[in-house]
Subunit: 421 residues, 2 copies
């Protein structure tokens, strides 16, 4: 597919995140105003809530945009999602007859604050990147036993904490937690010293499933409204001590940052690609009827306070061993009901190369091999470092981007139980 | 404390669940009517929503009872919780001047359906029963290594699935899932053959905490609105294959049943008791400033289809090694924000005796020692069995009960992906 030309400034720039082909969904506010739904286009956000109020944008089941989150649009289903994209494209395409009516509702991105684009119902995080599982397993159990026996059969996942999900730009406070090193007799309660990121993509579930009824991979794909960048902040020292036998808990509950824009599945359609060859056959309920990953280039950048940004990793979403529809289908096998607004983290996306790893744990090999950044080295995150995820699918002369997913890590509270501000 | 006498029929019966001392919170409906908030008293439910509508019950921040769940009451905080109890006690106590106004709003429990008493925001399940951890650990790792090294230091918990929580009476469909026995080369997708219960108490979080700020055990206790009986249905064969390394996922997502009544913390106040002596010192952030468990007698009963009920376990909530306030405080250590409506499962409550175990896994010792029921034996749940949890705190001449928490297990779907009813 080629670039769809738009009359909006910045929309036809080949390296911009937001051409007309994209139209991602977000929530924005102007200074002193309430948050409202918008779609990014070029250097602007289109105030689709205002267009609906004015009656120019009419959606089946509407009004759907009179709330500051996209859940109501999701709930009405794929036919409306497609109608929304088609109608907004009519407004914004080059030569649109609606330009005069629509132009007053463009707000410069530079003038807005961005908010959570959805109400997260529940958050699940997976562990479905082959290289990540191999790397982490090798560090903890040796190369021979790196993969757990179930890994090639199940898209391993665990339930995370929805209340931890924050939008890009939200500062992240280094957590306290219970830790115990192998050389210590008893645990200590202290700030995490091995605070980390995980580079992931998040799938946004836009349709519910029925309690007691699993869904197929094919049905699961149709339930996915879109994707966000996702940083699953992880305290490795807390995780190492707490995770046996029931999995990570507080290590993953400090924060989970997402990009401010949900890129709808329809915008990613031209970038479909297959999961890698299966190393062992999957059970039939996990078979993909068609390619269900996307070719999305991803990068992680680290910026020390007052310093310059270094891109520390470059990889691709196509590295995943399991696709989001496979994960979602597996999620329902027990009869678990999925809900509009559920968020599924892909699992850390690491490529095979050393500089394609999606966590500092892997990049520094457990802290044993600090990696270079501009003006220094890093093993884990240091106070006031800013971590930025970026991603885009590359079309012919255009990109489908997510906007940055960024968070600065603030120093731990001196006394986490001190009250008063 | 003694029985507080009430004019409501059934309220002064010594073996009833719902004396005036209790006043638990539920949601009920009469045939053909919408669900609404009520409080149980004797053989009746008091339509508190109607009393608020009429202006007899006025709560700060109200109306709070014009929705079919108790979250709005929880949100306004402990002062209102206490005021609600005091005012309803004025209506219902023996000799009340309000009897004539209130009596028309009593509905026989026999005439109502009961619904979920709250909107569950997020659900967390703990693993905090000493005997349960010992039993399960012994089965899987031998008696010497039964307890994981962190167990005596951390109230181990994992995030569960809020969408799985259903009210007592809801049938539970035996799940399908991916399983692999030790003698099989590859996994299979099949109905669970080791479907089980876990006898737990659930703490209902009634106040939010601030993202980034842990709460103390003392603060945590004040956040707990009340308690429910909780059955954490568990597919042991699915769990055994999936749980390494990130914990249980689909094994616990089929359903989680709760009692229809939330017993408010205030009603349990006379039954406070201490956690057991610490085997190793806890870190200061987990210290309890006062006894924070409750003496609550619990039992599990199994009824085959068309057969008679057998009580298969009798134990007590006082068996827990960690209290709900300790669990809640630990839950916030990383800065995790707690939300009104969060539900915390205590973990399986097993006593030391063989007939005091809170799961069939333990009662049948992994299926190796089937236990007797009326007319047969059981290792795990068979199709159409009904499992019932009951619990009460025993006062002088009265009980604080939860109502039954009951669920019948239906046969697995023949083809879980067949569509159409």
């Amino acid at each position: 597919m080629n670039l769809q030309l738009s009359w909006v400034p910045g929309a036809n720039r080949p390296d911009g995140d937001f051409p007309l082909n994209n139209l991602p969904c977000g929530v924005f506010s102007r200074a002193g105003e309430e948050p409202r739904c918008g779609m990014a286009i070029g250097d602007f956000v289109l105030d689709v809530a205002a267009l609906e109020e004015e009656g120019l944008l009419v959606l089946d089941g509407g009004p759907l945009l009179d709330v500051p989150f996209w859940n109501e649009v999701m709930e009405v289903g794929p036919a409306v999602w497609a109608a929304l994209r088609a109608r907004v494209a009519e407004f914004l395409n080059e030569g649109s007859q609606f330009r005069a009516q629509v132009e007053p509702h463009l707000v410069p991105l530079a003038d807005v604050a961005l908010h959570m684009p959805l109400l997260v119902s529940e958050y699940t995080d997976f562990y479905a990147g082959r290289n990540h599982a191999q790397n982490v397993g090798t560090m903890f159990r040796g190369a021979e036993n790196a993969l757990p026996p179930n890994w090639l059969h199940i898209p391993i996942g665990y339930n995370g904490r929805a209340s931890s999900v924050v939008v890009s730009g939200t500062p992240v406070r280094r957590p306290w937690g219970q830790v115990k090193g192998p050389d210590h007799a008893v645990p200590a309660f202290q700030p995490s010293r091995r605070f980390d990121i995980e580079l992931e993509l998040g799938a946004v579930v836009g349709q519910a499933s029925t309690h007691g009824h699993p869904v197929t991979v094919d049905e699961a794909e149709a339930m996915i409204f879109g994707y966000v960048l996702l940083n699953d902040w992880s305290a490795r020292d807390i995780q190492a001590w707490e995770y046996q036998p029931l999995g990570p808990f507080q290590a993953k509950a400090t924060a989970t940052s997402i990009s401010p824009w949900i890129v709808m599945s329809a915008a990613l359609e031209p970038f479909r690609t297959s999961t890698p060859a299966r190393e062992v056959p999957l059970l039939p309920y996990l078979h993909e009827p068609r390619p269900m990953l996307y070719d999305i280039a991803l990068e992680v950048a680290l910026t020390p306070e007052g310093g310059r940004e270094t891109v520390i990793s470059r990889t691709n979403y196509a590295e995943m061993y399991y696709s989001a529809p496979q994960q979602l289908a597996h999620h329902t096998t027990s009869g678990c009901a999925m809900t509009v607004g559920d968020l599924l983290g892909s699992g850390t996306i690491s490529g095979a190369a050393k500089d394609a790893r999606g966590s500092l744990l892997e990049l520094s090999w457990g802290g044993k091999e600090p990696f270079a950044i501009d003006g220094g080295t890093r093993s884990f995150i240091e106070d006031n470092d800013t971590l930025t995820l970026r991603g885009h699918a590359q079309g012919k002369g255009y990109r489908i981007g997510f906007g940055a997913c960024r968070g600065q890590v603030l120093p731990a509270l001196a006394d986490p139980y001190a009250r008063g501000k």
